[in-house]
């Protein structure tokens, strides 16, 4: 890996310390109760961690994506639910506002998001439109002074908790992005979905019944919503890939330590080749996944097109997360199946990285297309 600058190291030292002391300790409790982790987010906000890559002029820290990805890894290693909330709020709404928003929109929405006073959500998926977002139906009808939104959105991370939603809806000019505030009349939220993992990161349905969105809350150009969302996803995928690496690493570290302590047949289980080789492979796959994530982040930092690298990293890292967390459970034997040892949670949490922000199959579609660009 590239040598880190003093700044990058200092940021990561701080993130590592908070992750260990604040997030790691409470993660199992949040998983059990399914509470949205506001206290954790508030603490991260105070340290400036909710707007890491947003420019300083807009209330962020103006960090490079490489440091952001490494920080995401640390946070995910401690609490994957907090990590996805963070990845979404900074990787999607903040990224899109910074890139496509007007000065006034940045002032009104980007600054509080970057400062972590608010959490942002991204709402593309609908009940019948997941992998194929171009088929989305939420309607945006032109009315005097703005638009009226009607329809359903589903699977919105931080839904019901976030103060700002970037929503893709269909109007006469095609799909456009709109900024919708939480307490807009006509907008209501379903209860949090009961998920396999990421219990603290609430996901829910959004119902739009005559929701008025003023003219000035159209994000960017009318009709460019899908392209903007896809650009947002390129950036978001680096965050999810980093989240995947973090979960894999955390489970691996638990397994590595356990294998050094547990004895069977009179020796440490790591001394059995069956276990030692497993650990060797886990380590190698994590290192490879991290390298892909940093490659994508570095390309983004250089201002180059990074769609291919982001999808490659997301595809590989999410598969590594699922396989490494499964193997970690295996290394711990019966104890791996016990909640107290944490690895079963990483296993449950990891699976979704192969699904959200584009399933693995969709990443392959993107990669196959990008190869011939």
């Amino acid at each position: 890996m590239a040598v880190l600058t003093t700044d990058q190291k200092m940021v990561l030292d701080m993130v590592r310390a908070v992750s260990r002391e604040v997030l790691w300790a409470m993660a199992p409790e949040y998983d059990r109760t399914g509470q949205y982790p506001w206290p954790q987010l508030k603490q991260l906000a105070q340290l400036g961690l909710l707007g890491m890559t947003t420019p300083e002029a807009w209330g962020g820290a103006g960090l490079d994506s490489v440091t952001w990805a490494l920080a995401m890894e640390e946070i995910a290693a401690a609490d994957p639910s907090v990590a996805v909330i963070l990845s979404v709020t900074s990787g999607l709404p903040q990224y899109m506002l910074n890139r496509f928003g007007s000065e006034a929109q940045k002032k009104k929405y980007l600054v509080p998001l970057a400062k972590g006073e608010w959490i942002g959500a991204f709402s593309l998926t609908e009940p019948h439109a997941g992998s194929d977002p171009a088929s989305l139906k939420l309607s945006a009808q032109k009315v005097p002074g703005g638009w009226e939104l009607n329809g359903l959105k589903s699977w919105v991370t931080s839904g019901g908790q976030a103060q700002v939603y970037v929503v893709m809806a269909r109007g006469e000019a095609g799909i456009s992005s709109f900024i919708v505030e939480k307490d807009t009349p006509g907008l209501s939220f379903g209860s949090p979905e009961e998920k396999m993992g990421l219990h603290a990161a609430h996901t829910c349905e959004l119902r739009f019944e005559g929701v008025f969105v003023p003219e000035e809350n159209l994000l960017g150009q009318e009709g460019r919503g899908l392209a903007q969302a896809l650009a947002g996803l390129d950036s978001g995928r680096i965050g999810i890939a980093a989240q995947a690496v973090g979960m894999a690493r955390a489970a691996f570290e638990i397994a590595k330590q356990y294998a050094d302590e547990r004895t069977q047949f009179g020796q440490k289980i790591r001394e059995f080749q069956g276990v030692g080789f497993k650990l060797a492979e886990m380590h190698t796959r994590i290192a490879a996944a991290r390298a892909l994530v940093l490659e994508a982040a570095a390309k983004k930092d250089r201002g180059e097109r990074y769609t291919l690298e982001a999808s490659t990293a997301k595809l590989f890292a999410s598969e590594v997360a699922v396989s490494v967390t499964r193997e970690a459970v295996q290394v711990l034997g019966g104890y791996g199946y016990h909640r107290e040892y944490r690895v079963e949670r990483y296993y449950r949490d990891a699976k979704v990285t192969e699904i959200y922000e584009g399933t693995s199959e969709i990443q392959k579609l993107v990669i196959a297309r990008e190869l011939y660009r």
Partner: protein, 248 residues
């Protein structure tokens, strides 16, 4: 008012140290701001937040110390002076070099760690006070200024604690319980880059020379407690931890 923290960079207690050719090899070891110095930094920042004025860190050590200095700046210290000296200097020699700079700064008070984690020595604070001919309060757990001339401080003794009033300027050394240091914030880290860090080369020769270093090897005692009677086993465990290991 002006508050100074004297800080050092030391190996992270969790790192595994190696000996190469009779010397500790720090290659590959994570170096951090000494935790006891971190308390000193935090206290200096709190004093400044409460009373206004300026906060300064002074460090004496090799180039690599800059990382620890930046950490202090990121936590909120205003500016830094780095006395650059490679190689080992004994605490007395260090104190003399530090005293020159600190006297010129003429601070209200100086705070430093109660113990230096790498040498396991408690000499730096008192030696610095001696070199400055200022009073010293070691193992401070609480401090309160009484105007600009005096401070009331609580500090630990071997078998208890004591509250003292001390004339300023004075040197204080930190003890666990003094405060809970803040994390540097991200904006703080970004701002730290733009803060003043003055480098001053130092050519002092150490009065003590390190000839050889070894690492204490402790083999495991492998004590097994018979667990047939869980209550008796728990009692025995407590007794061993209390009387033999002396950790509780």
């Amino acid at each position: 008012m002006k508050f100074v923290a004297v800080i050092r960079q030391v190996p992270d207690g969790e790192s595994r140290l190696k000996i190469e050719g009779g010397k500790v090899d720090l290659g590959g070891v994570t170096m951090i701001l000494d935790q006891m110095d971190e308390w000193a930094v935090e206290e200096v920042i709190r004093l400044q937040e409460k009373h206004g004025g300026e906060s300064v860190v002074v460090a004496l050590g090799p180039e690599r110390f800059e990382e620890a200095i930046r950490t202090a700046l990121a936590m909120g210290i205003d500016r830094a002076i780095h006395l650059v000296a490679e190689g080992y200097l004994d605490p007395i020699t260090q104190a003399e070099a530090l005293a020159k700079v600190i006297r010129a700064e003429a601070p209200t008070l100086v705070f430093t760690g109660g113990q230096q984690a790498d040498w396991d020595s408690q000499a730096l604070g008192p030696a610095l006070a001696e070199a400055l001919a200022w009073p010293v309060v070691s193992w401070t757990t609480q401090i309160e200024l009484e105007g600009e001339t005096h401070a009331k401080a609580k500090h630990d003794l071997d078998e208890g604690a004591e509250v003292v009033r001390v004339a300023l300027p004075a040197v204080f050394t930190s003890q666990q319980g003094l405060n809970e240091p803040r994390y540097p914030t991200l904006p703080g880290i970004m701002k730290a880059k733009r803060k003043e860090l003055k480098k001053v080369p130092v050519s002092a020769s150490s009065k003590v020379e390190i000839l050889e270093q070894t690492i204490q090897e402790k083999s495991r005692l492998n004590k097994m407690i018979d667990g047939k009677d869980p209550v008796a086993a728990a009692h025995e465990l407590v007794r061993l931890l209390h009387e033999e290991a002396k950790v509780i």
